[in-house]
């Protein structure tokens, strides 16, 4: 088994019956579900909205070359700068180079998963530049030295007491501080830094091709401060973030907010129209590999709302940190093998019961659990399965192709169950659960006497 798979299994075992974790996540997700139900009720026709959104994204992905160039032209026309990065390392180096070129010592960052993906903070810190996370959730992650637990709600796994304990340790606030006191304390630290920073770093929720604008959705206003106060703004944008027209945001803003948090709109929807202080880095980092895969190209439609994580029973059980990936849950299991390699991440498509809730809630109608099936087939085609499993399925196929061999195999299996011989796979079952009693007579045995 590859080391990532071992780590995942270990982490999953540790979390599966962590009842405190289960209770915190259940409470937070229940709040989310209640809000989403209210949000969905505000749509006259949610199904049509998601069909329309999927059609727009389909159009973008199938003509991505044109839309990217259009976007670049329009950013340049507004006086901004565009850089292209093929890999994570290249993108990080570009940000570091820009920082050095402009004499940047301190940077502030608005919440962005793509900067997590390229490990930007460590690259900047290695270059002697301090970076401060300004989204409250991300700020708490940074204080705790943890990666985000969830792509939208980075500290979904923490309750107020745990956050208060972190703040107490760092800033001496009382252990029983209220949410308002904690937010106030964070604001004090952050406001000073906003004024001192030389560079603001953001991702992009949307990149608008026809106007060359970056669309940012935040709930705390930190996105605005990050882009407006420092003298330089660097936006790192995955190439799948494009929408063709400004007017498309009239659909995508409420769609993202509704499935992301249950809000009708995110509180601050900022459009950055560019100036000479704006540098946009367009990042590939494996996305074009997914683009080349006609079967799964629509995985790039994802607008990172996080809904598939919230409804996923596996995500809720193991938690966001167990995956060891930037993008967790069904979304991560769908795209990570494509983006980061099949050999290291082949276990993720299997870490799903294929229940299909993810696809039902996806606002851009990605058949996520079907792509997990496609990924499993890809794993087998690449011969990344264990030889034992391969052999077992060959033997099984040989048996079930003949009713006689099938019946004999069944009889042997039931006999083994009755006398208590546990095959290795049966042990994985019986360690945790009871097996049903093995009947002496099968249905087909019975049918012969009762046709």
């Amino acid at each position: 088994m590859n080391p990532n798979a071992c780590r995942f299994q270990r982490a999953a075992r540790a979390k599966a019956f962590d009842l405190r974790h289960r209770a915190i996540v259940a409470k937070n997700i229940a709040t989310y579900h209640a809000a989403v139900a209210r949000g969905l009720a505000r749509f006259a026709d949610w199904e049509s909205a998601r069909r329309r959104a999927a059609a727009i994204k389909w159009e973008v992905m199938n003509h991505l070359d044109r839309y990217l160039e259009e976007f670049e032209r329009n950013v340049l026309a507004r006086g901004g700068h565009v850089h292209w990065a093929e890999t994570a390392a290249e993108a990080s180096q570009q940000v570091v180079a820009l920082a050095k070129q402009h004499g940047v010592r301190r940077a502030v960052k608005s919440k962005s998963m793509v900067t997590e993906e390229i490990h930007l903070n460590s690259a900047l810190e290695a270059a002697g530049i301090t970076v401060l996370e300004t989204d409250l959730g991300e700020y708490i992650c940074q204080l705790r030295g943890e990666p985000p637990y969830h792509i939208v709600t980075p500290v979904m796994h923490l309750n107020r007491e745990q956050i208060a304990a972190t703040f107490h340790e760092k800033f001496g606030t009382p252990l029983d501080a209220t949410a308002e006191q904690l937010a106030g304390s964070a604001r004090e630290q952050l406001r000073a830094e906003f004024l001192r920073a030389d560079m603001g770093i953001t991702g992009a929720n949307f990149a608008v091709a026809d106007t060359g604008m970056i669309g940012l959705c935040t709930n705390e206003g930190n996105g605005r401060l990050t882009t407006a106060l420092p003298r330089l703004h660097v936006a790192i944008v995955g190439i799948e973030k494009l929408v063709p027209r400004l007017e498309d945001l009239a659909l995508f803003w409420p769609l993202l907010a509704t499935r992301g948090t249950g809000q009708f709109l995110t509180v601050y929807n900022t459009l950055i129209g560019g100036s000479e202080n704006l540098h946009v880095i367009l990042l590939d980092n494996g996305r074009t590999r997914l683009l080349a895969d006609a079967e799964q190209r629509n995985a790039l439609h994802c607008i990172r709302c996080g809904a598939c994580l919230n409804v996923c029973p596996v995500y809720r059980t193991v938690g966001g940190h167990s995956y060891g990936t930037t993008y967790q849950g069904p979304l991560g299991s769908m795209i990570t093998p494509h983006l980061r390699g099949w050999r290291d991440w082949s276990h993720l498509p299997y870490a799903s019961s294929l229940c299909g809730k993810c696809a039902d809630v996806c606002p851009v109608r990605i058949p996520i659990h079907h792509h997990l099936l496609h990924n499993r087939r890809n794993v087998i085609q690449r011969r990344l399965d264990s030889p034992i499993q391969r052999l077992a399925f060959r033997a099984w196929l040989w048996a079930v192709r003949s009713p006689r061999r099938y019946a004999l195999g069944g009889r042997l299996a039931r006999w083994a169950m009755r006398i208590g011989i546990a095959a290795p796979f049966a042990k994985a079952w019986t360690d945790h659960r009871e097996l049903p009693p093995a009947p002496r007579e099968t249905f087909r045995d019975w049918w012969r006497t009762n046709p």
Binding site: F17, S353, L373, Y406, G410, A428, H432, E434, R444
Partner: protein, 232 residues
């Protein structure tokens, strides 16, 4: 009317009483049943694990056996979803056997238009939506309509009715800790209803749920829908 029975390998080998119960309900409704004895497995275990060549061989086999029937009925939403929803992708076509295979409750309610099969089962029951039945076949009301028509039966809904039980085929043994934790959440929700029985249309879910209920000595029994409807 004459229908072919598709008794999935799992039901044939471990839950024969579910197949028998389905036959008894169909016969009570005057339907003639035939059981093509060459049938074995629909190929779902291979398909879900990624062995599509192996699954394709079994899909072709299934279609050869069942193509000649107007209707094929199965006491499993999961295997029906495999045949009807995934065979077309696997085979690149939709053979008659794929189109004409129905899950048991779907066949009764949507094909025959029957909800009252004349059953009596005086007990408090909660229904578990199997994921394939609910989200691949889109059957939510059909099994409930059948249960509501059963004399003496009280149907109570659990809060986690639509949440996966954690079985997921090989998932249950590849990731036993995750699978069991999901089972635990499911069973807590079942027990909270105060129901005596949890009913579903998939024996695989019921094996998973029953396996945890019995390990934890929880006071709820599992029953397949066909077994409930067979009681008079």
């Amino acid at each position: 009317m004459r229908v072919a029975l598709f008794i999935p390998c799992f039901v044939d080998q471990f839950y024969p009483e579910v197949g028998k119960a389905m036959v008894s309900v169909l016969r009570r409704l005057g339907i003639e049943c035939v059981f093509p004895e060459e049938q074995t497995c629909c190929g779902q275990p291979a398909f879900n694990t990624g062995y599509w060549d192996e699954a394709r061989a079994l899909a072709r086999r299934y279609c050869e056996i069942f193509n000649g029937y107007d209707a094929v009925v199965s006491p499993s939403g999961s295997c029906t979803a495999m045949v009807r929803n995934f065979y077309p992708e696997l085979l690149g076509s939709s053979p008659p056997a794929s189109v004409n295979t129905f899950e048991f409750s779907e066949f009764l309610v949507k094909k025959l238009g029957i909800t009252d099969v004349g059953a009596t089962f005086p007990a408090k029951v909660t229904y578990h939506d199997s994921c394939h039945t609910l989200r691949e076949l889109r059957l939510k009301q059909e099994p409930r309509a059948l249960l509501r028509a059963v004399r003496g039966l009280e149907l109570v809904e659990m809060t986690e009715a639509e949440t996966c039980c954690g079985f997921g085929g090989t998932f249950s043994v590849k990731f036993p800790a995750i699978s069991t934790a999901m089972d635990d959440v499911k069973c807590q929700s079942i027990v909270a209803t105060g129901a005596q029985y949890v009913v579903s249309v998939d024996s695989s879910c019921l094996m998973q749920i029953g396996g945890w209920l019995r390990r934890k000595n929880l006071p709820v029994q599992t029953k397949h829908l066909a077994e409930v409807l067979a009681q008079t």
